[in-house]
Symmetry: C2
Subunit: 368 residues, 2 copies
C-alpha cells in the first residue's frame, strides 16, 4: 500500500508547460487556503473556519481567535467561494433576468433589488436576455454558477423558456409584471400598470379627446396586454370615443413610423396618441412634428415609465411613473422569503403615479 502521495499534479500548481489549456501558464501566486492560515496560526483548519465564520463564541478563546484573524490578514486569505458553495450547497447568489440592458426601468429595479440583497449578504447577478429576436441563449450558460434563485421580468419570457430543463430547472423564481393566471413562479411582484393606463386614458378623455390611437408595443408580453385592456375598459364608458391600435417595436424610429401611419391614415386625424412607453412616445412626437404639426397643440402624446428620456425630449412627456426600485426591493424580499422556506405574502400591485407634463392639452377645435 503505497500511501505516499504520488505525483498527482494538482490543477493549480503550474508545472507542465506543454498544455495549452486555459490558464496553463498563468503562474498565479497560489492563493492561501484556510489550512495555510491554520498552519501559521498554529491551530487546526477547523478552528480557522470557526473563527472566520464567526461561529467561535464559547468554543475558541479570544486570544486564539485574534491569532487566527491576524494570520488570515497577513496572508491575505480569502475563502474559496467555489469550495464554500459546494460545502454549503448554496451560493447566496441570485440572478436577475432583464429584457435589455439599456432599459432604464430595469436599471432601477436592479438598484432596489441589490440594496435589499446586500442587507442579507446575498449577491445579485444580472442576465440581460439577448436583444431582440436573437436565439434564446441559456442564461445559465452565461451565468455558469450555482444559483439560489431567479428574479425575472416577464418581458424576458423567451429567456425564461430556457430555464425549463436547463441548470435552473426547479429554481425558486420570482416573476415581475407577469400574468397572475399563469403558473410557475413562487412569487410575483406586479405594478398597477392597469391603473396607470386607466389614469392616462381618463386624463385624455377629460381634456376632451375623442379620437385616440394606442401606439402599442409589438413585443408580446402580459404587461402590454394589460395596457390595451385598461384603455378599452375606460373608453367603453365614454360616448363617441374611438381608439385604434397600431403597434411597433420599442424603438424611437419604429414609434415614429407607426405614429406617422396612424396620423396619416384615412378618416379624421386622431388628436391623441397613447403610447406604451416613453421611447415610443418620443418617436410619436417626431412623427407629429414631421407632419408639420405641434405637440400638444395639434396632437397630444402620452408616454409610460417616466424614464429620463421623458424629460429630455421637447415637449416633456406626460407619462406614468413606475416605482421601479420598489419592484426590485419587493422582488428580492419575496425571493429571500422563499429561500428561507417560507411563503411570501401575495401583496397588492404597487401604485403608479400619473405625471402631468407638457405633451398633453385639449384637442384643437373641430373644423368641419
Amino acid at each position: 500500500m503505497c500511501a505516499v502521495r504520488g505525483s498527482t499534479m494538482t490543477p493549480r500548481r503550474t508545472s507542465s508547460t506543454d498544455t495549452t489549456e486555459y490558464g496553463a501558464m498563468t503562474e498565479r501566486p497560489a492563493r492561501p487556503t484556510s489550512r495555510d492560515v491554520a498552519r501559521t496560526a498554529g491551530v487546526s483548519q477547523a478552528t480557522v473556519s470557526l473563527v472566520l465564520g464567526d461561529k467561535w463564541r464559547g468554543r475558541v478563546s479570544e486570544r486564539t481567535a485574534a491569532l487566527v484573524r491576524e494570520a488570515a490578514r497577513t496572508l491575505g486569505y480569502r475563502p474559496n467561494l467555489a469550495a464554500r458553495n459546494l460545502r454549503l450547497g448554496r451560493t447566496r447568489t441570485v440572478l436577475l433576468v432583464v429584457p435589455a440592458l439599456t432599459n432604464e426601468f430595469f436599471a432601477r429595479v436592479y438598484t432596489g433589488a441589490a440594496g435589499v440583497a446586500a442587507e442579507h449578504g446575498v449577491g445579485v447577478l444580472l442576465y440581460p436576455s439577448p436583444a431582440g429576436t436573437g436565439p434564446a441563449s441559456d442564461p445559465f450558460a452565461s451565468a455558469r454558477h450555482a444559483l439560489d434563485g431567479v428574479i425575472a421580468s416577464s418581458m424576458a419570457a423567451e429567456a425564461l423558456d430556457a430555464f425549463r430543463g436547463a441548470d435552473g430547472a426547479d429554481l425558486p423564481l420570482v416573476m415581475l409584471d407577469s400574468d397572475p393566471a399563469a403558473p410557475g413562479p413562487a412569487a410575483r411582484v406586479n405594478v398597477d400598470i392597469e391603473d396607470g393606463m386607466r389614469q392616462v386614458t381618463r386624463h385624455l378623455l377629460d381634456l376632451g379627446h375623442r379620437r385616440m390611437v394606442h401606439l402599442a408595443s409589438a413585443v408580446p408580453s402580459w404587461t402590454f396586454d394589460v395596457r390595451a385592456r385598461a384603455i378599452a375598459e375606460v373608453v367603453r364608458t365614454a360616448p363617441d370615443t374611438t381608439v385604434t391600435t397600431v403597434s411597433a417595436p420599442l424603438e424611437v424610429e419604429a414609434g415614429r413610423a407607426a405614429a406617422e401611419r396612424a396620423l396619416t391614415g384615412p378618416g379624421p386625424r386622431p388628436t391623441a396618441l397613447i403610447c406604451d412607453g416613453d421611447v415610443l412616445a418620443a418617436g410619436a412626437c417626431k412623427a407629429v412634428r414631421g407632419l408639420g404639426l405641434r405637440v400638444p397643440r395639434d396632437v397630444s402624446v402620452t408616454g409610460f415609465d417616466d424614464l429620463a428620456l421623458a424629460r429630455a425630449v421637447e415637449p416633456e412627456l406626460t407619462t406614468v411613473g413606475l416605482p421601479a426600485e420598489r419592484v426590485g426591493e419587493r422582488g428580492m424580499t419575496a425571493l429571500l422569503t422563499v429561500l428561507d422556506g417560507r411563503i411570501p405574502p401575495p401583496g397588492a400591485p404597487l401604485p403608479v403615479t400619473l405625471v402631468l407634463r407638457a405633451s398633453t392639452a385639449p384637442p384643437p377645435p373641430e373644423d368641419d
Copy 2:
C-alpha cells in the same frame, strides 16, 4: 432513524415549526449527481465524467458512452457547477464592471463581450458600480463567486479600488478607455476618443464657429480629460477662437443648467456647444430653446457616443459614433488571451466616426 442520503435542506432552523398547514416543506428533489448517473448506467463515476466531459474518445466504447448519455438524460442530470469550479480551480466566468446600468454604450459593450465569450464557453457577469457617489461597495461581495478575470471601464474607477485587497486581488484585468500611462491592467482597449473630439472641433471650426463652450462631464475620468485635451489642441491652431469650459454631471437636467449658465454669461454669446456626451447635449438643446433660441440656427450643439437618444431629440444630434460592440469583443478577446497565459498584442485605439446630423450649422451672422 432513517438517514436519508442527500441532506436536502439547510439544517438551519428546521426545528422551529412542524407546520403542515401551507406545505412549508418544499423538499427539493435532490438533484442527481454524476454518481447517480453512473449507477443507473452501470458504470463508474469516472466514466460518466469522461463521457459527459467529452474526453472519452478512444477510452470508452461508443456503446457505453451512449448508455451514459441516455442515463444522464433520463435522470435530468446537470453537473454541479460549484463542485466543478472547485475541482478545476477556475470558473470560466468573467465579470464586466460598468459605471451604470442605464448607459447604452455599456449595454453594447456587453453584447460584444458576451458574443465572443460565448464562442469560448465563457460566461459574462455584470457588475454595475453603485450609482453616483454612493459608497464603493465590493463588486465581489455582489458577485460572490470565483471569477477568472475582470473587464472594467475606467469610469467605474471607484468600484475598481475595491478590487485591491478584495477577493479579486491579482485577478487578470482588462481596462476599457483607461490612461495608457497608469499601471495595473494586463491589457487595455481604447477607443480613439481623442480623434473623435478633434473631428467634432474641426467640424465646428470649418462651419465658422469662433466662440465655443465645452460642456464637460463632471465625472472625473481619463476619457473626459482626453476630450478636453483634444479640443484644446485643435483650437490652438485656429486664430481668434476661444473655448470656455463648464462641467456638469452626466444628466439631462444638469446639462441644461450648465448650458444655460454658459449661454447667459458675460460677453458675447457662444455659438457652439461641444458636449462630452449625448445626454449633456440633449440638456444643452433644452437650454437653448429655453432662452428662446433655436438649434442649430442660433447655437450649434454636438454630442458624443451616438446613443439612441441622439436621434430621439429634436433636432437630431451631430455626434461621434463609438464602436461599442467592438470594444467589448476586443476586451473579451484580450482577456481570454491573458487567461490562456499569453500576452495580448497592444492594438491601436478603435476608430470612431463623426456623425453629421441636424444640430450643427454655420453660426449666425455677427450683429455688432
